[in-house]
């Protein structure tokens, strides 16, 4: 009997020691990030990294974050994601459109790791997607652009012809034309998210075409520097780019990922995380309009802010009919608004833009 109790208690003790670490929950949640650019790009990746820092500030010792920066889109991304998963990260944020297929491939191999992919559209049980309604911010920029242009030509530097960028071009154009029916839109594709020298050349090409307001969907400040040289204006992209205020940078679209990141990490910690598609905008605080400077007349500023309020409250949708496609076919009827499906697969310009989208 004695011997049996001894054995039993020994067994109980060993079970206790084995169970202890799992029970105590001392292990922090490991969270990994892969970035397409360097954290010091002052734009897109910089803003994602601010989100990562916000997670650390919010959860402290309960989380541990790491990141891999400047990961090229493509096969290298798969390697970086696998490395993060093998290092024990249970939640991984992939912050560029081009990481989509690598995320899907790696997620299939690590079913117990949760993935969050920015701006993509492919999902799985352990892959969620999130995006910001940049086009809402573009509507505000477009209004300012339409009012401020004197040559009636506004330019747009695109990165890649994907729906996210095309939404921005259309939204800026629609709202510029709304306040100034004479406006023309010139589009140049840089085929890069971040290449300062090329962005500068693209801006110079637009300026030489007579453009005096430049919008950009690339991440460096080079277009603003060129705009300043030529006495034109532009807008901060992804981050505030305040060094160029009050002019040429007259306002900006700032991506604020912190609220979303904190929410999702909280959900993983309390076990309620689910794969879904989140698309937040001005109203949710994910798209922030940077300060509109005094280079813009007071009444234009007021008009832009009023539009921002209308969008934030949900009273107005930037894509509200009547709107036709560039080829003249009908798209949205009077009062109809674009569905999220329509927007997330947008591959056409609206009527009035004469350029063609590279297919």
């Amino acid at each position: 009997m004695k011997r049996r109790t001894l054995l039993a208690s020994a067994a109980a003790a060993s079970i206790l020691t084995l169970a202890a670490p799992a029970f105590a929950q001392d292990e922090p949640l490991k969270i990994g990030f892969i970035y397409v650019g360097p954290v010091g790009d002052g734009g897109w990746t910089y803003q994602h990294d601010l989100g990562r820092q916000a997670i650390e500030a919010e959860f402290g010792d309960r989380v541990e974050t790491t990141f891999i920066e400047s990961v090229p889109e493509g096969a290298d991304a798969e390697r970086a994601l696998t490395q993060l998963a093998l290092a024990g990260n249970k939640l991984i944020f992939a912050t560029s459109f081009g990481f989509m297929d690598p995320v899907m491939n790696v997620a299939a191999k690590f079913p117990d790791v949760k993935f969050e992919h920015a701006t993509g559209y492919k999902r799985a049980d352990n892959v969620a997607t999130y995006d910001a309604r940049f086009y809402e911010g573009r509507a505000v920029m477009g209004t300012i652009a339409g009012r401020m242009t004197e040559s009636n030509k506004i330019g747009y530097i695109g990165s890649f012809p994907i729906p996210e960028v095309i939404q921005g071009i259309n939204s800026s154009f629609i709202h510029a034309r709304k306040v100034n029916p004479e406006v023309e839109m010139k589009v140049v594709w840089a085929y890069s998210w971040f290449d300062p020298a090329k962005e500068a050349d693209a801006a110079a090409a637009l300026l030489a075409e007579g453009v005096d307001v430049i919008l950009q969907h690339t991440d460096s400040t080079a277009p603003l520097a060129k705009a300043q040289e030529a006495g034109a204006i532009g807008f901060g992209q992804a981050s505030d780019m305040a060094a160029f205020a009050p002019s040429p940078r007259v306002s900006s679209i700032i991506d604020d990922w912190s609220p979303y990141y904190i929410k999702r990490v909280g959900e993983v910690l309390d076990g309620t995380w689910q794969s879904n598609a989140t698309w937040a905008g001005i109203g949710d605080g994910e798209v922030v309009i940077g300060e509109i400077t005094d280079a813009v007349p007071a009444e234009v500023k007021e008009e832009a802010l009023a539009l921002k309020e209308q969008i934030a409250s949900g009273e107005y949708h930037p894509f509200t009919g009547p709107l036709n496609k560039a080829d003249g076919s009908a798209w949205l009827a009077e009062g109809e608004t674009a569905s999220d499906e329509d927007l997330s697969s947008m591959n056409f310009y609206v009527e009035g833009i004469t350029a063609a989208i590279p297919q």
Binding site: D41, S70, P161, W189, Y191, P196, K198, A225, P358
Partner: protein, 295 residues
């Protein structure tokens, strides 16, 4: 519709960073050294130049600092390859990675601030663009008409023979490497000080690699480097202009054009020179080989 003069003016500044880097690398390779660290030296120059221009308020001091910074990191490569006889390809790649990381680290305090404006030179063209244009004939003259250039080429063609004639192979090569570093540094600083006016990590975005390719396709001549840099810059500017003008040409084709046109023309040039001058092409005979005096 698109006037050639405006294209030419845009071309001049678009090609300046690669022109500087490629001219520097030309001297390095003619001395028989293959330094693949151009990108690393450019980014170091971009940061050093920006930092000094920002702190001192003088863009010209900035360019001087960029040349110094580029030369300083290139001397690391010189120590590795000339004294420790390390593999040049591996050392050059390491220099690129090192330069990118080093600049990112020391660049942190300079993020988000703006460079002081530059006073434009004659015809409202940047002084550094002018300097680049002056460097082309100077380097041509040095390589083809000066005694120093003859020694440099001798060291690059056959380092054993040059050594036997009493020339200090190691010293000539270190000088060439430092000059290449200084030129790459100025090229990089042109991007940060004159084009973007801000410091951001990785801002040279591969310009160093294009410069390396241009040196090879130029058949190791100063004029070839100028043609290559102008062609690359020119077609880049032209294709963006055509896009802005809304010309109905597939954009993919336009984006590809600078690379394609540069390769085709430079291959044609080098093929012609190959047949007219000498067998074996114009690549320096000792390119990429380490020299050890006891051998």
């Amino acid at each position: 519709m698109i006037d050639p003069l405006s294209i030419f003016l845009l071309l001049l500044s678009a090609s300046t960073p690669i022109l500087f880097a490629a001219l520097g690398e030309l001297i390095v390779e003619r001395a028989g050294v293959l330094n693949l660290g151009v990108e690393g030296m450019m980014i170091t120059g971009a940061l050093a130049g920006f930092a000094v221009a920002y702190v001192s308020g003088s863009p010209f001091l900035g360019f001087a600092a960029a040349a110094t910074g580029g030369a300083a990191v290139s001397l690391l490569f010189a120590v590795l390859t000339q004294f420790l006889l390390a593999n040049q390809v591996a050392s050059g790649l390491a220099l690129t990675l090192f330069g990118l990381g080093l600049a990112a680290l020391f660049g942190k305090p300079f993020e988000g601030v703006k460079a002081p404006p530059m006073i434009p030179g004659p015809f409202r063209i940047n002084w550094i663009v002018w300097l680049g244009l002056v460097m082309v004939p100077l380097i041509w003259w040095f390589l083809n008409r000066s005694r120093g250039g003859l020694i440099l080429r001798g060291v690059g063609e056959n380092h054993d023979a040059a050594h036997a004639l009493g020339y200090n192979v190691r010293l000539v090569r270190i000088g060439a490497i430092a000059f290449g570093g200084a030129m790459a540094g100025i090229g990089g600083a042109f991007i940060s000080i004159a084009t973007v006016l801000q410091w951001t990590e990785g801002m040279t975005a591969g310009a160093g690699w294009i410069a390396l390719a241009i040196v090879v396709f130029s058949n190791w001549t100063a004029t070839g480097v100028l043609v290559g840099a102008w062609l690359f810059g020119g077609v880049t500017v032209l294709q963006l202009r055509l896009q802005a003008a809304g010309v109905k040409v597939p954009v993919q084709l336009l984006s590809m054009a600078p690379y394609l046109a540069t390769i085709i023309v430079l291959v044609l040039i080098s093929a012609r020179q190959k047949f007219s001058r000498r067998a074996g092409g114009a690549a320096p005979g000792s390119l990429g080989q380490n020299f050890h005096a006891l051998r």
